[in-house]
């Protein structure tokens, strides 16, 4: 059955979208960029980071573009002072929640969180740092999980379940106590379900998941590979 065409306005410009597309997908298909962090093309969107929020005419609420389907006649605003303000707050809260010491990180210079801060011109945060005590799991022979750097985007959870089919990663606890855990809270090295494929490492936007053996600034992620793998396999997100 051919998919229904919809007309949508994005930042005033009339574009045509396809029924079932999210606002983010429709925007991207028309060459418009909306800032994102938890989204990774090919994986089911979850709306975790709130960076992609947009305004929709007729309502005061803000909507995440990555999980909100387009509707015919919708008018979407992706850039406004209000959105900038909220996106900045979300990003600043990510920075204060854990210990993002960019200068000592394997992903320094290649980190999506760091790059987003630069893009938004964030030179400081407005909130007090939390400085929590967090674990670093070195038990896997090839990879490291450093909770200090995790932003709970759940890309690792999704890539492991949806692409590798191994379902190793999960989120445990709630709110500020949420943590990524492997195989129902085993050490990574003891997680029998892990195939050591490394997809989670490549999907992770920060240095939270990294290969061992790299020094500061050396870990470059290849998350394009994840998206192209999804495309080639025809897995539908």
């Amino acid at each position: 059955m051919p998919q229904k065409k919809l007309s949508v306005r994005i930042d005033g410009e009339l574009i045509s979208a396809v029924e079932g597309q999210t606002i983010l997908q429709a925007a991207r298909a028309n060459g418009k960029r909306i800032p994102t962090l938890c989204d990774l093309e090919g994986l089911t969107p979850v709306g975790a980071c709130r960076l992609c929020i947009v305004e929709i005419s007729g309502t005061d609420r803000l909507f995440p573009a990555c999980t909100t389907p387009v509707q015919d006649g919708m008018s979407v605003t992706t850039v406004s002072p209000k959105l900038t303000q909220y996106r900045r707050v979300s990003l600043e809260l990510l920075f204060v929640e854990r210990n993002h010491v960019c200068s000592a990180c394997v992903s320094n210079g290649h980190c999506e969180l760091q790059a987003m801060a630069t893009e938004m011109g964030i030179s400081t945060v407005r909130f007090a740092y939390n400085y929590p005590k967090l674990a670093v799991d070195l038990s896997h022979p090839r990879y490291v999980l450093d909770q200090n750097r995790c932003i709970l985007c759940t890309r690792c959870v999704r890539v492991c379940a949806e692409l590798e089919g191994a379902h190793v990663w999960e989120v445990t606890s709630r709110g500020i106590h949420s943590r990524i855990v492997g195989d129902l809270n085993q050490k990574w090295g003891d997680a029998k379900g892990c195939t050591s494929c490394g997809k989670c490492v490549q999907a992770c936007p920060t240095g939270a998941l990294a290969e061992k053996g790299w020094a500061v600034e050396e870990m470059v992620k290849k998350n394009d590979n994840i998206s192209s793998l999804v495309r080639r396999r025809g897995v539908q997100a």
Binding site: C102, T118, S123, T124, Y131
Partner: protein
Amino acid sequence: MKKVKVATVWLDGCSGCHMSLLDMDAAIISLAQKIELVYGPLVDAQEFPEDVDVTLVEGAVSSQDDLNKLKKIRQRTRLLISLGDCAVTGNVPAMRNSIPVQKLLHQVYVEGVQANKIIPTDGVPALLKQARPLREFVKVDMCLPGCPPPAKAISSVIAELLDGKKREGTLAVKFG
């Protein structure tokens, strides 16, 4: 023309930001004609002067001594700039923040050495519970992150402050 009084201060940092400040090549010569360096690790002055126009502070606030200095500096400075990640975020000095101070000192000075297992107390300032960024103690007028901030970023910020003109191609700010 009256020279602008600039001070630099080194709190809990590695001095890398000061190195970066010195790394601005020829720009430092033209800058020297417009500013007077009145205090800091690069000059002799012992007492932080009254009436400073711009102070660049490197490092986190880690000890009671750092905090006292910072408060005095704030009173005597028109524009206070957090220079580098330690001053802006806490950065590496803040990596000790989840370890209680006594335990930390014990690990470093007793468990961590072969001989002279003594925790120093004479002539060293007492550590605060945590190393934290300047902004959490005093009003900061501007932040220049980076570890260290590139020399070019420091020189253009100072140049902008001096003549109020925005510089084209000013480097994008970046943590780390």
